[in-house]
Amino acid sequence: MAGMITEIQRFSLNDGPGIRTTVFLKGCNMECLWCHNPETISTNREIHYYENNCIGCYKCVTVCPSKAHKRIGGGHRYFPKLCITCGKCADICYASAMVMSGMVMETGAIMREILQDKAYYAGSGGGLTISGGEVFCQLPLAMELVTACGREDVPVAVETNLAFPFDYMQPLIQKLQLVMCDLKLMDGGLHKKYTGADNALIVDNIHRLSACGVPFIVRTPLVPGITDTEQNISSIAEFLQGLSGLQYYELLNFNPLGASKYKSLGKPNPFQDVRPLPEKRVQELAALAGKAGVPVRCE
C-alpha cells in the first residue's frame, strides 16, 4: 500500500506521550483558515518556492517543460500559474529553492523509518503518531501502518479532526494507543465558517469515542479573535465534563510558523500578522476551562 505523505519527523516530543515518530499524511477534508501546515490540505503534490535559497544556477529553466521558470534580466523568475507540478525542477534543485511537497511512499518504506527508533519508543512510552492533513483521508494506509506497528509492538496514536462517520473510523480507532482530536469551535455556525465543516458530527463522534474505551485528548487551537473567546473555551470544557476516556483538554497556542509555507506556496495567508496569545492569557483560559472540572493542559 502506498500513500501520499509530506514528511516523517523523528524524535517528535509534542505529538503524544513519550518519544515518537510522526508521519504527516497529505490531504485534509477540512480547510481551517489558520492551518499552519497548508501543504497538507491538498491531496495533490505541490511545489514550494523558497526564493532566498536560489543560487541562480538556472538548471530549473532548462528542465521545466511548462516554462514556469524563466531567466529574466539576469535573474531567476518563477511563474506558479504555469507550473504543472511535474517536479522536475525540484528534482535538480539541490539548494532547496524548489521543493516538492508530497511523496508517495510504500508502507514498508515508512515502517523502515519508524522502526529505526523502536528502542526509544519502548523506554519512553512513545510510538508512532499519524498526523496530517487528516489521517482518515488515507484510512487504508493508516490501517496498514497500525497493523504493521502492532506486529512490532509499536503503539500508535493519531491526530484527527474526527469529521468522518464513526463507523468508518472505528476499526482503526480500536487499535490505537491514543486519539488526539480537535474541537475548534463549539458554535456550529462559526465552525462551518472557519473550517468548512459542520461540528455536529465531531461532537457526536467525541461522545462515541468516549464510549468505545480508547484514551483520547481533545484540543483547541487558540486562534486570536476566533477560538480564544471565553465563551468558546468554557462551552467546550463543559461539553467534555464527565466523558470517560478523556485524558485531558489541551489548549494549543496559535502557531505562526506556517507563514513561510503560505508564501512559498503562493497562497494567501489570512493570519499573516497574527501573533500567539500572551502566556498569561493562555493560563487564564486554561483556568477558565478548569472550572468545568476537566483536567486542562496548555503548551
Binding site: 544556477c57 539548494a95 526509544y120
Partner: protein, 740 residues
Amino acid sequence: MSKIQLINQFPADETFTLDKRIRLLKKRKLEQTQEKIDAEGGLDEDDYGRVVAPDDFSFEITPTHSDGSFYGYKGWTENYTKLLAAHPLYCDPLDAFVGRGFFFLTRRKGSIWNPDHPYSDLKEAFKQYNIICGIGSDGHFTPDLRMGFELGWGGILAKLKKYQAINTAPGNAEFYESEIAVVRAIISFLNRVGDELAQLAEEECNPCLAQNLREMSGVNHAIASGAPKTLRECIQWMCWFSFLSRLYNRGPSGGQLDELLRPFYERDVQAGIIDDQTAKFYIACLLLNDTRYYQLAGPDEAGRDMASHVSYLILEAADWIDIACNLTVRVHDKMNEDFFYRSVEYLFKNKNGWPRFSGDNSLVEGFMRCGYSKELARKRLAAGCHWMSIPGMEYTLNDLVKINTAKVFEVAYYEMMHSEPDLASTELLWKYFERHLGAAVRVTAEGIKFHLTWQERNEPELVCNLLSQGPVEKGLDVTKAAVYFNMCIDGAGIATVADSFAALQQRVEQEKKISFAGLTRQLELDYQDLDGEYIRQMMLHSERYCGGDTLGDAWAVRVNELFTRLVRAECSRYPGLNFIPGWFSWANTLEFGTNVRATPNGRHSGEAINHGANPTSGFRKDGAVTAMANSIAGVQPFYGNTAPVQLEVDPGIANTPEGVSKMVNMIRTILETGNTLLNINIIDKNKILEAHRDPSKYPDLVVRVTGFTAYFAMLSPEFRQLVVDRVLAVNGDVPEGSVA
C-alpha cells in the same frame, strides 16, 4: 591590576550567610572570566579555574638546554620548585579554600620537546596525514587522589625515602632526588600559605571573614604534611593538588567525586562537626576552584550503584554555584532512578552543560574486549573531555593523539586521480584510503612508542607520579612504570570522509551526474569552476551520515571498522601497549579543517571538518536526535574509549516533569543502544545568536564546547560560530525548505 588577596573588601559590620557568600563568589568568578578575556583574548579550551596573574608577579624560567628551554628531571625540578617558592597566594576570604594558579609551566618554557631526541623521520608522515602525534604531551590520565588522602604530603615523602633506600640503582637516583625535592617544596609552600593566611586574618577588618581566614590557616597548616582528616581538609587538599598539577603541566583529571568525599563527610557528620548546608558550601567552592572532571554514581566493582547522599549534595552544590563544571553521571543497569531524574532536571534547569552522561554497559564491555576484567573496567571513570581512565593505574595519552582522516582521504583521493584516473571508483579509492590510513596509524603508534621511550628525559610527570601505582615503588616515571599502558589513538573527520565516499557513490557512480575528472577539477578549484556552487550543493545534499540508514551511514560504519582494525593491529607490534581507538577531534575541528582542501561532500577548502563523531550540520531536515544517536552508536570502536554524542537541545523540551521524563528516557536509550558518552547543551537559539553578536551581554553563558564546558564569551569567534551552527542544525534551521 588583578587582585589576588581580597582582604578588607567589606565593612567590619557586614554579615555573611553561606548563600550570600556563594552569590558574591559567583559574581567575582564572572569578573575574573572577563579579566581573562581582556588579558588573553579568546581561548578555545577549558576554564581550569585560572585567574590573571597580578602585575607585580613575573617568573623567568631557568633554561637547562642551549635551546632556551628546560627538560628532564633536573630542568623540571629546578624550575618547578623555583616557581612554587615564588608563587603568590590567591586568597578570597569569602571562599572556603585558597589556591588558584595563573598558568601552566609547560606553556612558559618554549619548546616542549628535547631536541636531543629528534624524530625528524616521523615528522614527514605526521605532516602528510595531519597527525597530532602526542610526542611530548603530558597529563591526561588520572592519579589516585585516595593515595594522597591516606598519606598526606609527609607520608608521600616518607614513602619516597623508603623506596629510595630500596631502589639504589643509579638509574633510579635522579627520580627520587627530584621527587623528594618537589614534595619538600610543596610542604614548604603549604606551610607558607598557612602562615600568610594567619597574617591576613590579622589584617582583615571584618570579624566573620577574619575567622574564616584563621580557619583556613589551620586547615593549611594541618595538611602541609599531614593527611587530611575532615571534609574541609580533604577538599583543600584536592584544591591544592589541582593547583600543583595544573601549575606543572595542566594536570590530570579528578575521579569518582562522591566516593572520594563520602568517608570524610560521614566522619564529620558522626563527629557532629558538619551539616549538609556547610558540606554543600565546601563542594560548591571546590567546583568554583577548578573545572576538573569528576564522575558521579555508576557501579562499584561488584556492580552496586554508588549514588549516595553525597552524590545528591554534589548535584545540589553544583546547582547552587551554577557555573561551568564537568560532572559526569555514569548510567548503568542498576541506576538509582531518582538520582538520574534529578541530574537531568538540573541539566535543564541551569542550562550550563552539566552533568553529562556516560554509558556503563558499552564502556565496560568494550574495555573487557581488550582483555581486562569487568571489575577493572568498572573502575575506569569518565575523566576528561571524551576519555575514561583508571585512577592511579594507567598511562594513556588520552585526547592527545589524533589522526585527521579527512586529510588521509585527501591524500588517497589525489593519489588515485593521479595514478589511475581512468579506473577511478569508490572501491578503488577505498583501497588507496585503506593503505594510507594504515600508514597513518602505523606512524602514529610509532610516535607513541617514541614518546614512551624518551618522555622521562623530556618531561617526567613529577606531580602525578606521586599518586600513581608504580613510579614511586620502581623509581621510574609513570611513562615507564604505570601498571597499564592503554594508549589512545583517536580518529577525526569520520563524517567528512563517510559523506565524501557517499557523495561520490551516489552522484558519480549511481546517478552519473558528474565524472570523477569533472569533480576533481571542481575540488582543485574549491568549487569555483563553471557551475561550481550548483555541483557543490548537489554533493552536499547527498545521503549523509546520521541521516538514518543512508549511504553516508554505511560508509561511516566501514570507515570505523577499518580504523578500529588498524589501531588494534598495532597492539601486536608493540607488546605491552594496548592501543585503543576512538573518534574525537576536541577543539582541533577548526585547525584540522584548515589543512584539508575541498572535499567531495560539498565542503569548501579550509572549512572545519565534522566535530568528533557528530555529523555535519544539516544532516537531516528534522535534525532528529534519535537518527544521529543511532548512527553514532554504529561507529563506536567499542574497546573502552569513546565516540561521544554531542547534542544541542532546545530548553523548551523539558520544561515540565513529563518533558524531563522524556529526556531521562532519551538519555538512557542513547546509552543503552551502544553509545558511550553523551554531552548535552541546553541552549536557547535566540540567546546564543545574541551572545554571538555581543558576547559581553552574556558573561555567564556556559556551553559544552566539545567535551569541556566553557564560558561562551571566552571562545574565539570561529569557535563560537561552530557552536552556533550546531545549535541551528538541530533546530531544523537548515535553509528554509531544505531537503537534507
